[in-house]
Amino acid sequence: MDKKINLSQLADLMSEAGGMSKVASEQFVKNFFDIISKGVLDEGIVKVKGFGTFKLLQMENRESVNVNTGERFTIEGHQKISFTPDAELKERINKPFSAFETVVITEEQSAELSDVEITKEELPTAESDNEETVRIEEEIGSVETGSVEAESSEAESVEPVVVNKPEAKEPQVKEITQKRGTRILLKIVVYILSLILVACLALYLLWPLVGKALIKSYADKSKPAVETVKPAARESIQVIEEAELEVEEAKPVIEEAKPAVEEAKPLVEEAKPVVQEAKPVVEAPKPVVAEPKPTAANDAQPFNLNQEDQAKALSKFTEADTVNYRIAGRLAVHTIEEGESLTKISNKYYGTKKLWPYLVKYNNLGSSNSLMVGSKINIPRLVAK
C-alpha cells in the first residue's frame, strides 16, 4: 500500500507476469514510456489501447491575483500534458465505488437544510435579549466553554461520517445522501456556534465601555429611592457622591460573582457533548448567574444607610409603582365587560397590572370578586407623589 514503484521494480513485476527476461522487460518498459513522452512532445497526442490518451494542451494567458498582496498578474500561456484513461480502464479502477450513482437532491433534503438556517437566526436574538443585563460578562465565560466543547465533540462525530470505505462493495446510495445531510447539518451548527462565540468575544472586549454606562444608569434609578427614605437629610452633592461610590462598589461585587460562575462550569462540562444538547448547556449557567445580582444591589448602598433603612429602601424601590401615587380626580368611567379583572383594567388604563389596588380604593370595593359584568367603576387619575 502507498508504495512508489520505480522502473526497475516495475520491470521485475513485468518479467514475472510476462515471461520476459528482467533486462528485456526493463528495456521494454523504458521504451514504452520514452515513446509516449517523445510522441506527446513531437506530435501532441499519443493513444495507447487499453491505457489511455496523452495529449498536449495549449493553455491561454489568464489573469490571477496574488493571495498575499492582492495584486493582479497574468499567468503566461503554456503547454500542459493531460492524460485521459481509457473508458474500460477507468471503470476497472473505479470498481470499488461502482455501486454509487449520481442522485438528484430532492426538495425534502433541501428543506432540512433551510430548517437549520431558521434555528440559526433564533439563536443570536436570544443572545441579544440578555445583552442589556449585568450578567452578560459571566455568560460570556460559560457560553465560551459550552460552544468550544460542542465544537470539539462535533469534530469527533463528523469524522466517522466522512470516512468512506473503498472496500464496501454494495453501499446504499441513500445512506450516503443521509450521511452527507448530517454532515452539512453539523457544519452549519459549528458555524452558528462560532458566530456566537465571536459576538460574545466582541462584547467582552467592549465591556469596559458598555458596562460602565449600564451601571451608571442603574445608579441613577436608585437615587430617588434613597431620597424617599431620608428626604430632608440628603444634600444633592452627597447623593451624587453616593452614586459614584455605588458604581465603584458594584464593580468588585460583579467580579466576586465570577467564581460562582466558574464553579458552575464543571457542571456544564459534565453535560452531554451531543450537538442538539449544546443549547441547554449554554443556558444552564443562567440561574446560577442570576443570584449574584441581588447581592450586588444590597451591597451597593451600605455607606449612609443602616440595615433597616436599606431594607426599606429596597422594598420601596420595588414597590415604587404601587405606593408612590396619589389619587387626583377621575380619569374615566369604565363599564366592566365579560372576562375582565381589575388587573386587566389597570393594565388598560395605566399600562401596568400593579396599580389595581387604586381601583379598589377609589371605588370602595370590598372584595374584588364582587365585580359584575355591566357595572361601572370609576378610574382614578393618578399623580406621582
Partner: protein, 90 residues
C-alpha cells in the same frame, strides 16, 4: 500518434513483432493496474507519476435547470508529468 503507430515504433525499438509488442503492452498495463488497485503509485523518472486518487463526493448544480445532484465519490487514475518533461515543453 495512434495505437498502431505507437506499436510499430515500440516493436522497432525492442526488436520484436508488433503483435508480440501489443501483448507485452497489455501485460504491462495489467501489472500496473494491480499496483494501482492495491494503492501503489507508479513513478518513472523522466516521465512522471501515475497514481489512483480518490475524488470526494460533491454536490453539482445544473446551471440551466438549477437541479442539485449529489455526485458520488470515485477513484480516478491521474498522471502528473515530471518536472524534467515539463522543462522540455518550454
Amino acid at each position: 500518434m495512434n495505437n498502431k503507430e505507437f506499436l510499430t515504433e515500440l516493436s522497432g525499438k525492442c526488436q520484436m513483432s508488433p503483435e508480440v509488442a501489443a501483448g507485452h503492452v497489455q501485460t504491462l498495463i495489467g501489472v500496473m493496474e494491480n499496483l494501482w488497485n492495491s494503492g501503489d503509485s507508479v513513478s518513472l523518472s523522466g516521465f512522471g507519476v501515475l497514481e489512483v486518487k480518490k475524488k470526494n463526493e460533491r454536490v453539482s448544480v445544473n446551471p440551466t435547470t438549477g437541479i442539485r445532484m449529489l455526485v458520488p465519490p470515485k477513484l480516478v487514475l491521474t498522471y502528473k508529468p515530471s518536472s524534467l518533461l515539463k522543462e522540455k515543453l518550454k
